[in-house]
Symmetry: C2
Subunit: 259 residues, 2 copies
C-alpha cells in the first residue's frame, strides 16, 4: 500500500451529506494516503452551487460514524464546510481536499450547479489542491469499486505532484464495469446545458406550485470533452479554474466599445 | 430618449429580493429600452451562488409594486427565477437579462458566490446576453443615480450590438460622486479571496454556533483588474465565461501525467 513520507492531511467533504454512501467510499479510498478529516453537511445539499450561509448561524457537531476517523457535520452548505474546516477544525490548510463521491454526474455545465464541485473550488481558492468526484451510477446500492480506484489514483497523483496554486479537478466516473472501464482521460468541459420544463401542480388549497425538471442537451460534438469520455467508458478529469474572465471577449470589446 | 426599432424584452432579476431598492432602480434605468418583465426572489438570497431548488417545489406570484410593469416573485433562488421566467412566464427567451442592482460589491472572486451574477450566468447559459450590476455603496438609502446611468449605458450597448452566444458581463459601480466618476473600464477578474474568521458564540442553552465573517484580501497588483478600476473611480466591466476548463493545466497534465 502506498504511504507518503510525511503524514498528509486530507479534507473530505461532499454535498449529499455525511451519511451518504459516496462519502464513506471516498474515505475508504483515500485513507491509505494520509490522515483523513471529514467535514460534511448534516443534510443533502445537492444543487447548492457555491452558496454560502450568511443570514443564519452555523452549527458544527462531531460524528462517530466512521471508525477511527475524525468527522464533523455542519448545518451549512458544502462551501461552509470547507471554510469551517480550515478556520475552526484544522487551524491550517489541508494538503488536499477531496469532495464526493457524488451520487450523479457533474460533467459539462453541471460544474456550475454542483455543491460537490463548489466545495472543491472553495478549497482551491484557499490554495489547496482539490478535486471533486462524481459517479454516473445514481443508485444508493452501487458498490463504488470503480469510483474508489479512480479516487485513489487521482488523489495519490495529486499528493505526489507539485501542482500550481489553485489546482482543481472535476472527475466523473462512468457507470461501467471494471472490465469495460478504459482509464482516466483528461478532458475539457463539454458545451452542454439543461432545458427546463417545470411540472405545474396544484396544492390541496388549489394554489399552483412548480417542480424543476429538465432535459440535458449536449450541443458539443468534440471528442475531447468530458461527456464524450464518459460515453466511451473513460473517467473524465477536467482541470477547472475560478478566473471566470472571458479574455477573448475582453480584448474584443476593449478595442471596439465606447459608452 | 433612446428607443429601439422593435420592442425588446428585458428580463430583470436580482438576489436581494423583489422589494430591494436596487431592483427598482434597475427597472427605472432599463425601461426606456424595451418591455421590462421582472421575476425576482420573494426574499433576500445573497450568497446563494448558483444554487437551484430541487428538493422543494417553487411558488410564483404576480406582484403589483412596480407601476405599469409585469412583475413576479418566486420562492426560489435567483437561478430558479431565470429558469421559471423563460419556461412559465415569457415562453420565449428575453432579448437581454439584467440582474441587480446589487447592494454591495461583486468584483473579483465574489463572482463565484454572487446570486446576482449567477442569475445572469443562468440566462447566458440559455443563450441570452446578460449582465449583473452591483454597487459598492452598501446603504439602502443611496440614490443609485450613478448606477442607473451605468446600467442604462451598458444595457443600451448590449441591445445595439451583435454579441457572441454566451455573452455575460459583471459590472460593478464605485461608491463615487458623479463628479469623481471616471467612466466604464473593461477589466479582468482580480485574483483576490476572502479569509474567513467565524465568530464563535453560545446559544441560550450553552451550545456553540458560528457566524461567517471574513476579511477581503486582494493579492493582485495589476492595473487591469476590476478591483483597481473601482479603487480609481471607474465602473468595472468584466466579460465572464462559464467554460471553467483550465486549458493551460489541461495541456500540461495531458503531456505529463499517467495514472
Amino acid at each position: 500500500m502506498y504511504k507518503v513520507a510525511e503524514e498528509k492531511i486530507i479534507l473530505v467533504t461532499n454535498d449529499d451529506g455525511v451519511t451518504a454512501p459516496g462519502i464513506r467510499a471516498l474515505i475508504e479510498a483515500v485513507s491509505p494516503l494520509g490522515r483523513v478529516v471529514v467535514v460534511a453537511p448534516d443534510s443533502p445539499q445537492s444543487g447548492q452551487g457555491h452558496a454560502i450561509t450568511i443570514g443564519t448561524p452555523l452549527r458544527l457537531e462531531p460524528v462517530t460514524i466512521f471508525e477511527g476517523i475524525e468527522a464533523w457535520q455542519c448545518s451549512g452548505t458544502p462551501v461552509d464546510c470547507v471554510k469551517l474546516a480550515r478556520a475552526r477544525i484544522l487551524h491550517r490548510l489541508p494538503d488536499i481536499c477531496v469532495s464526493g463521491i457524488n451520487h450523479g454526474a457533474n460533467h459539462s455545465i453541471n460544474v456550475i450547479y454542483s455543491g460537490t464541485m463548489s466545495a472543491a473550488m472553495e478549497a482551491a481558492i484557499e490554495g489547496v489542491p482539490s478535486v471533486g468526484f462524481s459517479s454516473l451510477d445514481y443508485s444508493y446500492e452501487q458498490n463504488f469499486v470503480l469510483s474508489k480506484k479512480v479516487a485513489f489514483a487521482v488523489a495519490k497523483k495529486m499528493l505526489e505532484t507539485a501542482l500550481p496554486v489553485g489546482t482543481l479537478f472535476n472527475v466523473n466516473i462512468p457507470a461501467a464495469t471494471e472490465e469495460d472501464f478504459k482509464g482516466i482521460r483528461v478532458a475539457r468541459q463539454a458545451d452542454a446545458k439543461w432545458v427546463e420544463a417545470f411540472d405545474e401542480r396544484r396544492d390541496p388549497r388549489g394554489k399552483k406550485y412548480y417542480w424543476l425538471t429538465g432535459e440535458f442537451v449536449n450541443r458539443d460534438k468534440g471528442e475531447d470533452t468530458d461527456v464524450w469520455a464518459l460515453a466511451n467508458n473513460y473517467a473524465s478529469l477536467v482541470p477547472v479554474q475560478f478566473d471566470l474572465t472571458n479574455h477573448k471577449l475582453k480584448k474584443q470589446i476593449e478595442a471596439e466599445w465606447t459608452f
